[in-house]
Symmetry: C2
Amino acid sequence: MNELKLGLLGLGTVGGGVLTLLERNGEAIASRAGTTIRVVAAAVRDAGKARPGADTVRLSTRIETVIDDPDVDVVVELMGGTDAARDAVERAIRAGKPVVTANKALIALHGRELFALAKEHGTTVSYEAAVAGGIPLIKALREGLTANRIHSIAGIINGTCNYILTEMSQTGAAFDAVLAEAQRLGYAEADPTFDVGGIDAAHKLTILASIAFGIPLSFDQVKTDGIESVTAEDLAYARELGYRIKPLAIARRQEKGVELRVHPTLVPERDLLANVNGVLNAVVVRADAASPTGYFGPGAGAEATASAVLADVVDLARRGTDAQMPALGQSADLVDSPRPLPIEEAVSAHYLRLRVADTPGVLNAISGALAEHGISIEAIVQKELPPPVSTTTVIILTQPVPERVAAAACAQIEALPAVSDSVHRIRVEHFDE
Amino acid sequence: MNELKLGLLGLGTVGGGVLTLLERNGEAIASRAGTTIRVVAAAVRDAGKARPGADTVRLSTRIETVIDDPDVDVVVELMGGTDAARDAVERAIRAGKPVVTANKALIALHGRELFALAKEHGTTVSYEAAVAGGIPLIKALREGLTANRIHSIAGIINGTCNYILTEMSQTGAAFDAVLAEAQRLGYAEADPTFDVGGIDAAHKLTILASIAFGIPLSFDQVKTDGIESVTAEDLAYARELGYRIKPLAIARRQEKGVELRVHPTLVPERDLLANVNGVLNAVVVRADAASPTGYFGPGAGAEATASAVLADVVDLARRGTDAQMPALGQSADLVDSPRPLPIEEAVSAHYLRLRVADTPGVLNAISGALAEHGISIEAIVQKELPPPVSTTTVIILTQPVPERVAAAACAQIEALPAVSDSVHRIRVEHFDE
């Protein structure tokens, strides 16, 4: 039996998962791949560190040494970041070596150039592990649903955010407290900005939307709101109204183009996505033929991510790099490829939370402002606060309207004398309608 | 751009779906496949029938004419059944033509010979549409999860059964009434035996288990119980106890081998599978690395099934037939391939429903019989019936025990003088434990 030899760039959590999986399931994987798969070299920061399970792996602190190693057939990029990782992947491609990566930022930001370079050099860049960890979602979208016209993708694709909102919702704790707990448990990074700010999910959505709609990788076009502004109060009010607040990434085709957005979202409590809790990921795809289809599973973790990395490696073993599998699912430019829409043109219902003076006529003034912008009200609830507070909280659910209309109406409401503070606004989606 | 030309054997529901999808999405599919895909010929029963959308398709009542047509590159078998379909697929393979089929019975019963013949003739047989309709489940299991050691597959893979049990549970109606309604709505065949008897699900489970566990296609080893024996009473009692009854197909690795079984099953109401209703299919895979992963979507229907057929066709266009993709995911025999277990060795908890005389000591006699077989009781509920009935119904939930132990205990209970009728038994599964 042949052997396919891997060189890992990085031997941290995911790299360790790859070694563990090959150690435990190597024989079965070989029988499936038709080839023994072995890690022969790895680039690490500290070559002196003890690494159980890596005895037969040649360690080097120089990335180039691993890439250029004539023994290395496939380069597995697990460094993260976009600068050094990009250089490394380009070097591997120029050496004609196929690359497997788990790096969503790299693909979202530089995928276009990397895929073109790989094509030029007759090799490939695979990235199943970059989106939704252990869920074979890239394959489902690019291959399984290839005969469909996709209408929308909506998913929870950041486990950190889902964990935080789930905990806040279930315990009533505040964002900061739950974030600290998540960091202690290893569910959030020391610097959580990329996760809680929605950047990580936006990288992933960029990739999914490109495959689904045949549009270029358009990270810059994704509207990204973090979950930091969601309060325990919002989660409780949402629940009262029959909703949950979930961290969603949404790519939706509408008449004018494709909406691309990542933000906390109210979804009806019966919706599948409302019931995906903790660090689990889940994505629902609506299309014209096979619809809806849904995919859920672990979006992160050493072995779940390694499972996706090795799925790409086995694909290479089975098919080689000469198969005509276009990296983003498009062999040729799509004739009627839709354009990514600016957020102002996105259409959503909205949850509005306002602090208002407890005076007669205030609800009427607010509903008047909404009516002036043609916004219908689905529900309006006034929450009395205990004395001596002289303001009350008003919660409004609107019907769907374009983003710019909602923003203009909120600005008008904020200008009302009875309204203190700014209007707190969260988008609401009903996918089944 | 090249063209890949299809010959359809059968132009009924799914064949019509293939034509519709190619008509509607053909341009996008071509840009993804790198090849225009076109149906050039079809074998039909009645060549004179008007067929909208099939104007450019050469119709023939002779299957051989389509297979042998030098213009046909790929044969798409949509005839159903196993005899004529087998002959047709063999003929196509001998002509060196790749075959795409939606025929689960054909693969479950004759897959082994067909895959071997295809290999011999340097071609392939693809069958994504054979299991779970529009859900790209074969691909997920064979490719996406290929680095995993699978522990279990549990799923709702027969939409007819799920529709019937969902309706019975929600309306309280009896099996016969709901079946008649399902037939009227087109959710059940005129002869529903294959669906309600579990045979259809057993065909699909046979295929999934072979991929997941590296075992031969073992349809004969699948224990198959239909849903006909589930009463509205059972559904109501299950609900009272915090369960739902779902039509599950289960393949589970245990110490001694792999359990293969299709039967109505009590699952806790919080389980994902308990909440998949109507004709939807859903499958949850538990494994050692990426786990759990779940897949849901439409398990049948013209366009959902056509979506899967065309996914296979696009795979052929992208990769050709020379790629080393083993049909059931195994390139070589698995060294430690587990053996399919007889049902007697399967381990489940059980729901027992008994009709007993309303006399002192009867519960004690029953619990004594269970204790004698080492069966622990999870719950026991006595349901008084209104006078003049002098018997009561007893519901028991047991802890998990091997099937043969449960069967022996039930036989002993049935021999008790106070017990009229046979013990009505339904298996109970807790997948998260």
